[in-house]
Symmetry: C2
Subunit: 210 residues, 2 copies
Amino acid sequence: MTTKAEPSRAKRGPYAKSADRRQAIVQAAHAVFAAQGYLGGSLQDVADRVGMSQTSLLHYFPSKRALLLAVLNWRDSITGDGHTPPDPDESFSESILRQARFNENVPGVIELYAVLCAESITDDHPGREYFSERFATLRAGYLADFTRLAEEGRLRDGVDPARAAASLIALWDGIQTQWLLDPEGIDMAACLRDYLSLIILEEPDESTLA
Amino acid sequence: MTTKAEPSRAKRGPYAKSADRRQAIVQAAHAVFAAQGYLGGSLQDVADRVGMSQTSLLHYFPSKRALLLAVLNWRDSITGDGHTPPDPDESFSESILRQARFNENVPGVIELYAVLCAESITDDHPGREYFSERFATLRAGYLADFTRLAEEGRLRDGVDPARAAASLIALWDGIQTQWLLDPEGIDMAACLRDYLSLIILEEPDESTLA
C-alpha cells in the first residue's frame, strides 16, 4: 500500500497551504538573517533552506526587503514588542526580568535582533524605519512606566524618567550582545536587576506609613 | 610643459608610497563597511573608492578578512581601545564623559563599530575574536577601576564591580545605536553621566573627614 495515490492532505484548501509555505519561508529567512545578517544573507540561501527555487520564493515575497519586514513582524509576534503591559500581580521590575530570562532561551531571536538593529543604521537599510519606530515606541512605554513610578514616589530622586527609559533599553541591547559573545560570563538578568534596583525604590513598607 | 615626464614625487621611496596606499585602502574600507556593513560591503566597492582594480587591492590585503582586521586596528589607533587610563587631574567619570562627547564628533567611526560588533555574532565572522577580546579587555579595565573606587569607599553599597563594568559598556554601546538612529532625541553623555552618578559616590567632602 502506498500513500502516493491518496488525496492531498491539504484539507484546508490552497489558501492554508500557501500560508504554511509563507510561514516556512519566514522561519528559514529568520535563520539565514540571524546567521549571516540581512546584508550577508541571500534569497538563494533562504530558497535552498526551504527547498524551493528563488523564482518560487519571489512569488511569496516580491523582494528581500519584503521578506525582512515579514521576519521582523513574526519576531514581534513571538516575543511581543519588548514592552510588557502592566500586570497587577507583577511589578515593573519583575516583568522586565521575566522577559530577560525568556530571551536566554531564544538566542537565535536575540541574534537576529542584534544584527538587524545594528545593520539598520547603514545606508538605505530597509529595517531603519522599523527600528527607529521600535525604539521610539519602547522609550515612550518605559517613560510612562517610570513617570507612574515617580508619581508613586518610587523613582530615586534625580532620576530623569525619559533618560532612564532610553538607558534601560540601551543596557538591555548592549548586554545581549556581550551575552551572545560570552554566554557563560555574562548574566543579563542580573545586570538588568542591578540597574532597576538602582533607580526604583522598594515598595514602601506599610508599617512605616503614617 | 607637462608634469608627466617629471620624476616621481615619491621621494620617500617605494615603501612610503606603499604605506600611503595601504592607508588609503583602509580608510576607504572603513567608509564602505560603516555604510554597508562588512557582510554587505564588497572588495569591489573599496577598490572603486580608491580607484584601483580589485586585483591590485588584493596585493595589499590578501582577503576581505585581512582588510577588516586592518580597519579595526586603525579604528583603535584613532579612538584608543575605549578605556582611558587614569589621569590624576581627571576623575573616572570625567574621562568616560570626555570620550563619549568625543565620539559624538565621529559618527562614522561609531557606526562602523556598532555594525561590525553586531555582525561579529554571526557565523564565522572574522571580527568575532576581535570583539570577544575587546569586551573582555574593556570589562577587566573597568572592573579594576570600580574595584579601586570600592576600596576608596566611593562605590555605592551593593554595586557589584564586575557587573557594573559589563553594564557600563552595554549601556554605552546601546545608547550609541539609539543615538545613531535619533541624534536629536538622545543625549549619550547625559545617559552615561546618570548611570555613573548612580553607582559612584561623590568624593568625600574634606570638611566632613575626621
